[in-house]
């Protein structure tokens, strides 16, 4: 019998999560049954969407119940297998959540090849965030050569892939991020312009950076960035709505006036498309994504940056920091080596 140390949801947060909203506990796992494997977590992905799962609201995905482990993508090592096709020592991509060990059904796991790419990339540039960028940008955003693509949270795993794929497709990429260091990194990645949203004259800087307007805005953050982007959108502009992290910790709507009529008016008069999405909707594109993205990385056309923290006990602090934008690159917890 194997124990797992796990972080469960103890309380639904009121605004920004605190340590009191989580509880760490150690429980014994059942033996793996037919078709199941016992796993040791190596890497845990932390992503903004997890904040939404902590709320008691209806969303596209089930909320985490109180007392249940927090959810999350994981790279794990097989310790014991009761399933065909997997054996001890194999490394798999799964969804074990915030814990050190787990028992999973093998059919929910994808076997990884450690020789092909660093294992943590299966949670980032070659995983869900990279695929989110790829499918949302290409299917909804449809950037054309010479068009301007803007993206916020642009040093994050989704945003950085959005900008670099936009460049591959011949578009102009404008990245928005928090702080001069991140802006400098965006220029390293080949973004045509990089704007610090913390600057007092952010809206003016953004306007100056898009002399031909914005054709595609990949929405990761919402809030004041969206307010600044909307007047700059071109006719027939496309807005893949992927995330709204600036509001995930909000407990109430912002002060008025109510800007919905202005937003709808812009949608109407500019023939805009706003389209919310979750990458799993485009799952049939996954093989093509893996092929293309792997090649782009090999060719140096897509670079990625990971922000890896050691130890499951650092998970809550790292998660809180990520929601504040303190991370710099894809947030991964290295749970074990």
């Amino acid at each position: 019998m194997t124990d797992t140390t796990r972080i469960v949801l103890a309380r639904r947060p009121d605004g920004e999560p605190t340590h009191d909203d989580f509880r760490t506990e150690t429980v014994s796992l059942a033996e793996p049954q037919d078709g199941e494997v016992l796993l040791q977590t190596l890497y845990l992905s932390l992503d903004p969407y997890m904040r939404g799962r902590m709320n008691d609201t209806k969303s596209y995905a089930a909320k985490v119940e109180l007392g249940d482990p927090m959810v999350g993508g994981t790279v794990s090592r097989v310790l014991q297998s009761n399933a065909e096709g997997l054996r001890a020592g194999d490394v798999v991509l799964g969804y074990a959540g915030w814990q050190t060990h787990s028992v999973e059904r093998a059919k929910h796991l994808v076997k990884l090849d450690p020789e092909q790419a660093p294992l943590s990339t299966a949670l980032g540039v070659l995983g869900m965030p990279g695929f989110t960028a790829y499918s949302g940008l290409l299917t909804i955003g449809q950037p054309k050569p010479g068009e301007t693509v803007a993206v916020a949270a642009a040093t994050g795993p989704v945003g950085s892939a959005v900008g670099q794929i936009a460049k591959i497709k011949g578009a102009r990429a404008v990245g928005i991020a928090g702080g001069p260091e991140k802006a400098a990194y965006l220029r390293e990645l080949g973004f045509d312009a990089a704007i610090d949203h913390r600057a007092d004259d952010f809206a003016e800087q953004l306007k100056a950076a898009v002399p031909d307007g914005i054709d595609v805005y990949f929405e990761n953050v919402g809030g004041k960035v969206w307010d600044a982007v909307l007047p700059l959108m071109n006719e027939f502009g496309r807005v893949p709505v992927c995330g709204l992290v600036s509001g995930y910790n909000s407990t109430s709507l912002p002060e008025g006036p109510n800007r919905v009529p202005a937003l709808m008016g812009a949608v109407l008069t500019k023939s805009l498309t706003l389209r919310g999405f979750i990458q799993r909707e485009f799952a049939d594109q996954m093989p093509q994504f893996r092929r293309e993205m792997s090649q782009w990385i090999t060719d140096g056309k897509v670079k990625y940056r990971e922000d890896i923290t050691q130890g499951l006990d650092r998970t809550v602090d790292t998660f809180i920091g990520m929601l504040r934008g303190e991370n710099f690159g894809k947030v991964v917890i290295e749970v074990a080596q």
Copy 2:
């Protein structure tokens, strides 16, 4: 030399238009040059979009300049032709605006067959409003059999066509209109449910009328109807944004809170599509529209209602009333017989 009596924009309205915003004048028209015809207006279309053209704001279409005639679709009789293919007595669809006579280039005109359908229908069910409904609903809304389609301003020329085409495509049609008389008419048209947006419990009535939620909301009005619709939208719902007439006379944004984050949150968590459009984007569908819509009218599958007022001098009052929702059916001014 022929005179035209025309209504020009005298002043940009502050809120609801008044008579002081318009001026009637009589001017002499130049003789038709090569390729031009002299026209007498028979029918003038009044449509909500015209309110937007009165503002000094950038929109998808040029604003009306002060001192220029108000724009609008027209059915006219050719009085004198200097163009191949048209002769005196022919009847044409054009865009002469709010005036009794005009000189137009023949290539901008479409010859109508008075035997085929009542001439006024070229401005309504077989014209721009009908085509707006057809192209926006089928191309963006894409209703599937068994889905629920909701539309407001549902007794108007766009809304009534939206609901009836939705029925033809096997969807459930829910119409929203102002007052019990209009709601009763919607049931006559075959709508599955009809809601009076003036009812105190409008939002509750709407919710009860869509037990399976709303898959397509054809947006004509905005405001409180949109507020009531949004929570009822289903995952992967589509919202063709065609008009926002409830706000066309507004001079400021409504009081807070700012509901944009709630709107964007719904777009994200429900994977909604919001898409603004103007029918001319879909101009290549026009021949198919004319063929199908004519057949549907012949078969009794699409009914239409016109609200015809005699005399150009009634235009301003009729226009103001239309923006208040006082019309019942497609608003047409019969300028001459």
